[in-house]
Amino acid sequence: MREVLEEEALRADWTTDLRKRAKDRLSKSSPSEMGLDLSRFRMLQPRDESASSVASLPREVREASEAVGVVGDETARSGTYFQLDATALMKKVAVKGLEIMSLEDAFDQLDLKRYYWNAVPVDKDGFTSAVELYGKGGYVIVARRGHKVELPVQACLFMKANESLQAPHNLIVAEEDSSVDIITGCTSMPEKNGLHVGVSEFYVKKGARVTFTMIHGWTHDIHVRPRTGVMVEEGGTFVSHYVNLNPLSTLQMYPAVRLNGRAARTSLSSLLVGLGKSRMDVGAEIEFNAPDTKGEIISKSVGTGDSTVYARGRLVGNVDGVRGHLECRGLIMNPKSRVYAIPELMGNAMDVELTHEASVGKLSQDQIYYLMSKGFTDEEATSILVRGFMETKIEGIPPMLDSMIRSVTDIVASRAVG
């Protein structure tokens, strides 16, 4: 990688082994294995800058971040983290029982050993290794034991510099019986190319609840490689929803949720809209490692333009008494677009109930005729049906975020129809 090959100081002594594993893995990662040549991208250093509020950010930055759900009205949020390239500009907390800081600060203030690279292996691939070796920033959000954080926490990862690598490492910890709703918006300035590799590790402790909404609004030449791992303990719940708003270059991600405690629950939904020439390979995995765990994956993909979307999903039942469902639906809007739905179910115990429904196809002519007979034009009928296809009920999301997801979905639907 340009400008960054010199060794950096260790973050803490106990990370020595992690760095070694990362270095070994990265040295074995060729551009062909990774599908990208990391040497194309510059690693930026954090700058000595900060911002007092979202409203005080430059207009172009503020507007782009608003489009991915980051609100200027901070009274509607319990806290805000804002990272511009490698610089953590804002780390603000407005309520008790909640902590928000950058990863660098967390090394000084928290005992990170239990969380750092435990939900995602540091040497999972070249990208995770690069984050350990060259990553900058990332948010650490901790909901303290028993605290129900009422208003959502917002985080923004913003890429502005050209040909750069943004590689934050995020840690989210919901302690016992706490709950927190997080919305993360990721975006970049128009006509910049770059690589975004965000590692996110979630630790949902006994009886805790986390909802995580992620809105991506990248530009054409951005490559995106999020790496996410989630550990859910007894009676804990993790709900996530992902949506991408804009065309991008390539996106590949495969978040993995492990339900490790009895009666842990998860629901993972995503809306992938292949716009322009976007290439996306997105999946999700749930491992059922404890009895009475329940989980679902709902994946909706829409192919427009020349885009290609791979929508994967995998449910792995490792113990008796678990239930999982996978819904994988693809809608093809253009003869040049491709959608591949790849559902996988693995039962490693006898008493598992894992099911899936998958479908790929175009809008039904019968439905279009039906709506036209009610007075809607062909285009209006198509819009109504595409919006309907995208509708996903997200269990347990706060109304404020639900209505925001709805308006984002309206925008995506109108872009998909063209």
Binding site: G375, F376, I384, R387, G388
Partner: protein, 249 residues
């Protein structure tokens, strides 16, 4: 005449489904269309509504004196034709309430009225649900008529409102059709009409229709005063019509 179907022949996927149909519906008139399964009743409805699979090979359809043959389905709807489907498709992700308000936006909004219709058709529980997803037979018919009431067409094409429907729903369906036939507040001179397809004839006993047609094998086999025709079919079945039409030809 509000609707005039003249010598209409229609191909669906290469098969001739309608073979020279003549049929009229006058202003303010309700007309019953009967016939056995596969006789072409629903096909006639979809040909009038302009389904893309229904190719007109001969004849014409006139509505308010204007030829419809080349118009798209939505253009026909905007001229004042509406249809209540026999088996409407499911529309996932779109609630009945949302569809009703979208129709309302088109028509400049009659929301107060729509709320009244929702109560009348006992659709309170249905408006929050996705259109036709998991609806029972009776619920589908009621929802279709509710949507039609929101549109208030000059001509309602109502396909089998009485099939797969319980007694209570029949009563609601009948009330809805009577409501559809009332003159519009906005234009009392515009007397709405209906063409009601029925396979069983049940609805024919509840409604005061003026005339009835019987279709057999893609043609009109018989037409006349509604009560007489409905009673004939209900007492003697369509076989009598088949024998009778053979005698005529």
């Amino acid at each position: 005449m509000l609707l005039e179907v003249r010598d209409l022949s229609v191909l669906v996927k290469g098969r001739e489904i309608l073979k020279g149909v003549d049929l009229t519906v006058g202003l303010g008139e309700s007309v019953i269309l009967m016939g056995p399964n596969g006789s072409g009743k629903s096909s006639l409805i979809h040909a009038i509504m302009g389904h893309a699979d229904y190719k007109i090979t001969k004849g014409s359809i006139l509505f308010k004196g204007k030829e419809l043959n080349a118009l798209s389905t939505d253009e026909r709807a905007k001229l004042g034709i509406g249809v209540s489907f026999q088996v409407p498709p499911k529309v996932r992700g779109v609630s009945l309430g949302k569809l009703l308000s979208s129709i309302g936006e088109h028509d400049g909004g009659q929301e107060a009225k729509v709320d009244e219709y929702i109560r009348m058709l006992r659709c309170e529980e249905l408006v929050g649900r996705d259109v036709n997803v998991g609806f029972s037979g009776g619920e589908m018919k009621r929802a279709e008529l509710l949507l039609l009431l929101a549109q208030r067409p000059s001509l309602s094409l109502i396909d089998e409102p009485d099939s797969g429907v319980d007694v209570d729903s029949i009563r609601l369906v009948t009330r809805a059709i009577e409501e559809l036939l009332k003159p519009k507040d906005s234009d009392p001179a515009d007397m709405p009409s209906a063409l009601i397809v029925t396979h069983l004839g049940t609805i024919g006993k509840h409604l005061s229709a003026s005339r009835a047609y019987i279709m057999l094998g893609g043609k009109v086999a018989c037409f006349g005063e509604a009560r007489a025709i409905v009673d004939l079919v209900l007492s003697r079945g369509f076989e009598e019509c088949v024998r009778c039409s053979r005698r005529k030809h």
